[in-house]
Amino acid sequence: MSLRFQDIELGDELPEHRPDIRLEIVREFAGAARMDAAARFTDHDKAREEGLPGAIVPGIMSQGILAAMVHGWSGDGIIERIDTVFRAMVVADTEPICRGVVTDVDPGTRTIVVDLTMQNEAHETTVLGTATVRFSV
């Protein structure tokens, strides 16, 4: 089921999303992104030896998770731009929550802007950003 532009209103909230960032998934991502040579993405113990709290999720994986949340909500909506700020580390094997809210609607271009956040279990914002999404209908 895909959303239509006319169905979207300013202030609409995307369903909360709890991404799967178990270490095995982060390792899989790191392999596909050719980042698996960096132990901080693949091994808790080695990451701790580097002074990190544990293996961390690559910033571009957090960005990809937020994009996937937008796609899951919008269906055929096309992300034209996504801007993410990495404010704090996202640790693998934790349970962050991703949220989105529509903050701009432009009927002229059939585009919307969605503000995005990822929060950790302590309710700290680790990633924030915006996505510009275009709809054909």
């Binding site: 392999g31 996937a68 055929d76």
Partner: protein, 147 residues
């Protein structure tokens, strides 16, 4: 005290070009790990099958920095990325990616002055169509000394 001196003329100069072939297996794994569920990202038989839009952010050139900014990279951290997508990218596409420094600026935060360098990578496909642009903001706490 700054340990890196930069020439502001570096801004805008192309310093690296690479050719990339987009691989389907990497695109599918990238999509799955990020939690994509739309078949245009997960099903190669879909009529509009394409790579997830943020996947272009994974590509890096042979050089991360131009010669004049080599010392900058030590001690930096990734402050964020902007991905602009202008056209779908399909597995098998042959992309040419060119890198330049788009901007250098300073900000002062709670921990003191910080220097931001914006690394821009622009992607053109085999048909000469500009398909994507990635701005990578790198930040370093030690300020740079401009020439």
């Amino acid at each position: 005290m700054s340990d890196v001196t930069i020439d502001k003329k570096l801004i805008g100069e192309e310093f690296d070009v690479i050719d990339i072939v987009v691989k389907q297996d990497e695109a599918l794994t990238f999509a799955r790990a990020c939690g994509e569920t739309h078949p245009r990202f997960t099903d190669p038989s879909h009529e509009n099958f394409q790579i997830p839009p943020t996947m272009v952010a994974k590509f890096v050139g042979r050089k991360i920095m131009p010669e004049g900014l080599k010392g900058f990279f030590v001690g930096t951290f990734d402050a964020g990325k902007v991905v602009d997508i202008f056209a779908p990218i399909r597995p098998g596409d042959k992309l040419r990616a060119s890198s330049k420094i788009a901007d250098i600026y300073e900000k002062t935060g709670r921990s003191g002055p910080m220097t931001f360098v914006v690394h821009r990578m622009e992607f053109t496909n085999q048909n000469g169509v500009k398909v994507a642009c990635v701005d990578w903001r790198m930040v370093r706490r030690t300020p740079l000394k401009a020439e």
